[in-house]
Amino acid sequence: MASILEIKHVSKFFGGLAANSDVSFDMTQGMIMGLIGPNGAGKTTLFNCITGYYPPSRGEVFFNGKLMNGLEPDKVCKLGMARTWQKVRPLAKMSVLDNVMVGALCRTNSLKTAREMAMEQIGVVRLEHKADFLAGGLPIGERKKLEVARVLATKPQLLLLDEVMGGLNPAESEEIIQLILDIKKRGITQMVIEHDMKAIMRISDRIVVLNSGEKLAEGNPEEIVNNPDVVAAYLGTEH
């Protein structure tokens, strides 16, 4: 299958610190790629490099064969690659519907069409009953869902989810897992950063492990669990 995203030797330096160094991997159409690693491994930095928030210091990012280096986040979104934020960013003084409409307006100039598109996505994350509530007043679980609905409304081909289950209780996490699997059924490729190992093993087709900015391992979930380097990175080595 064709690669939708190719990351080639991407490095990102902040001063002398290498937040990412020489990371490479490919993603094929329709897959879910899990991105894991200990805190500070450079997962979010990699997201930022891919979506245009930082230009990579070295290396290239290709999306559908197009070089993405140097493109602004709004261009990246228009091209069909959209991300959510680890720390949710609701547009607090706007209603849930208006939040999602802002996403939908990326693809249309008509408020009416945007409203229809937004209601559809709000239905997907099951927030219909909160459509007229202010986004700033939602509890964390619903904010995470709002984040997903808003980003889905931009009609992405590739969705990058940054810890959408962080801070959620098991029931809420389960809902998000189902949501991610639903999104996969609709043919949207996803890259998911997650700390919940059980969840990531369940949903991912492949997993990339980052450690100290470098790619430590890549493979399907079973390979990753049985990889001694990964176990060492998470639990430390035996003495």
Binding site: E72, P73, K93
Partner: protein
């Protein structure tokens, strides 16, 4: 949480009651000069109209888009100077001059915007102040072009003719009243259109979270500059109107930091990010400042019998209170901001919400 009482339904459709009320007020305002002959009342109304136009213009950038410019005097001054210079030095009537002013303000806005919008938050505020100061100092020193500190005095406004018939000769305040009123209706319409379009959604998204907006496909530069352009054009219109109405401008009145702050205050006092806010702000602030200036408080205290005129306190107040009008004005503004952080409009909405619950 303070944000919960903001009525989000306002953005979708207006109720028939509101529309009827709005039309009734507009009709009343159009008839106002026919039954009120007091020139002072008309004067106050014209000042209110000018304040509404400049407040609402700022509101599009500050209130909707969240970019707090404290340098809007620059655009006000550009409008005022363009109109007055063309009228006095080139004999071009102001109803052409104001368009030149608006075009000039647009160009200035795009230049300033493309530079200053790289900055966020307090840094943008400081940059906007600095830019306005550049304009003030330039107007002060380019004596050959602007008359410098002497300012420009309008000697005569040419009569507005339609064919051969004279529409108005601008001898009374009435033509200024109607010009101001039409200006207000235009800025209300513009704000309404912005609020009910993609622009309004994008502006508010930028206000709430720039990074989130950016990631949702919003080109920050384009939309911030659009907001500034709309804002600057109509601030310039207010400047033109003010210049021709007052008949005299100099750098310390139309390009001063005071004025920039005044523009912001109109919105903050009224309530930012709403159509009604700047109108309420202007209706509160203009009469307040006029009343303080004209010594109405001292006279009121004396005539109501609270303070005797021949007492020491009475004569002290009568002589000095008017001089302290800026001080009192300042204190009142601080009090309003402390106790009504969402402006007068927000305050009453909160009250209404409480009443509804209790």
């Amino acid at each position: 949480m303070r944000m919960t009482f903001v009525n989000t339904k306002d953005q979708r459709g207006s109720s028939p009651v509101k529309i009827v009320l709005f039309l009734a007020i507009v009709a009343l305002l159009f008839l106002f000069p026919t039954f009120v002959e007091s020139t002072y009342a008309l004067h106050i109304m014209i000042l209110i109209f000018i304040s509404i136009i400049m407040g609402s213009s700022w509101n599009i950038l500050g209130g909707y888009t969240g970019q707090y410019s404290v340098g809007h005097a620059a655009y006000f001054g550009v409008g005022a100077y363009a109109t007055m210079m063309l009228m006095q030095f080139k004999q071009i009537p102001p109803w052409y001059g104001m368009w030149v002013g608006m075009a000039a303000a647009l160009v200035v806005a795009l230049v300033i915007g493309s530079i200053c919008f790289r900055l966020r938050g307090p840094y943008f505020v400081l940059a906007s102040i600095a830019v306005a100061e550049i304009f003030r100092v330039s107007a002060l020193n380019l004596k050959e072009i602007t008359n410098g500190a002497e300012g420009i005095l309008a000697t005569e406004i040419p009569p507005l003719k339609f064919g051969e018939t004279v529409v108005t000769d601008f001898l009374s305040k009435v033509p200024f009243y109607y010009t101001g009123l039409v200006g207000v209706l235009v800025i209300i319409a513009v704000t309404w259109l912005v609020q009910h379009s993609k622009l309004g959604y994008y502006f508010q998204a930028i206000r709430e979270d720039q990074d989130a907006a950016h990631s949702l496909g919003i080109n920050l530069n384009v939309f911030k500059n659009t907001a500034l352009a709309i804002s600057a054009i109509f601030t310039s219109l207010a400047g033109s109107l003010y210049a021709v109405y007052v008949g005299f401008i100099d750098p310390t009145t139309v390009l001063a930091l005071d004025l920039s702050v005044q523009i912001v205050l109109i919105c903050i006092i009224g309530g930012i990010g709403t159509i009604l806010g700047p109108m309420i702000g202007a209706v509160v602030l203009v009469p307040l400042s006029e009343a303080l200036r004209s010594n109405i408080i001292a006279e009121g205290l004396i005539s109501s019998g609270l303070v005797r005129e021949d007492s020491g306190l009475g004569s002290f107040l009568k002589e000095n209170l008017a001089h302290a009008h800026v001080l009192i004005y300042g204190i009142l503004v601080v009090v309003v901001i402390l106790f009504m952080p969402d402006g007068v409009l927000g305050f009453f909405k909160k009250m209404a919400a409480r009443k509804g619950k209790g």
